[in-house]
């Protein structure tokens, strides 16, 4: 059970990191070439997902470590 919980924590942490890196890369790509990303993908939704997964990571790791 504890092992499964560790994996769940790790998965949520990975989701947060990948979503954050994706958001940063897409944001700067769209800044360099306006519309490159935002013509097809809503970056605000991606940002909300980053925030949600970040909050989940903090809550699941307890003290934030």
């Amino acid at each position: 059970m504890a092992l499964a919980m560790n994996y769940i924590r790790q998965i949520i942490h990975d989701v947060f990191v990948v979503a954050l890196v994706t958001f940063i890369v897409y944001f700067f790509a769209d800044l360099l070439k306006p519309g490159f990303v935002t013509n097809y993908i809503n970056l605000n939704m991606l940002l909300l997902f980053v925030i949600a997964s970040g909050i989940a990571t903090i809550l699941l790791t307890g003290d934030g470590k």
């Binding site: 092992l3 499964a4 994996y7 790790q10 998965i11 990975d14 989701v15 990948v18 890196v21 994706t22 890369v25 897409y26 790509a29 070439k33 519309g35 490159f36 990303v37 935002t38 013509n39 097809y40 993908i41």
Partner: protein, 195 residues
């Protein structure tokens, strides 16, 4: 067992944004040589903008039978911008409209960024959809049209509209932009131009 699944999960988690990025590059390049865009008056489109100026139109209404959004133009001309990720050679403009049979409706593309110069053509009727008429115009040389800030300007021209007390209702504007598809021989010159 759990660890193996976790590794698969991580692989897909990292692969998905990379695949999406290449999909965005493919969309931007228009590898197929074709970009199909439309505006339906209910949702903003990143490509086809709402006709302008708005004072020449009534507020957006909704068809009671189909629920389609539409806008009635009572003063002409009106323009609409089409934002393109790059230059294209040809374009087909389709308009879904309702109007009196005697009222002409034409579409033009702006040929000069500062002068009032338009390449205007009559809409050719190509079909009927739920009581709306679909008209089509094909522009064979939009490569020479005014392409300012990544946008082409199109004109909706309905001579005598206001004088005759007529209106033209529009429910969809569709633009299909075309250029030569990307092949192995032209990929690298185009990539260089894009960079």
């Amino acid at each position: 067992m759990l660890h193996r699944h976790y590794r698969y999960f991580r692989f897909f988690l990292i692969a998905i944004p990379i695949v999406v990025f290449f999909w965005l590059v493919a969309k931007d390049f228009a590898f197929s040589g074709r970009l199909d865009m439309s505006y339906d008056f209910s949702h903003d489109s990143p490509f086809v903008k709402r006709p302008w100026p708005p004072v020449r139109f009534h507020d957006i209404e909704y068809d009671t039978a189909t629920g389609d959004a539409f806008e009635r133009m009572f003063v002409e001309p009106a323009t609409f911008a089409v934002k393109l990720p790059r230059k294209f050679k040809r374009a087909t403009v389709e308009v879904l409209y309702k109007k009196d049979a005697a009222q002409p409706l034409r579409v033009g593309v702006r040929m000069h960024p500062e002068k009032w110069a338009w390449d205007i053509h009559d809409l050719e009727v190509v079909g009927e959809e739920n009581g709306w008429t679909r008209g089509r115009v094909r522009f064979e040389n939009i490569g020479r049209a005014a392409f300012t800030d990544g946008k082409l300007q199109f004109l909706l021209n309905a001579p005598g509209l206001f004088e005759n007390g007529q209106e033209v209702a529009l429910t969809e504007i569709r633009v299909i932009a075309e250029k030569d598809p990307i092949t192995l021989s032209n990929f690298f010159p185009r990539l260089w131009h894009w960079l």
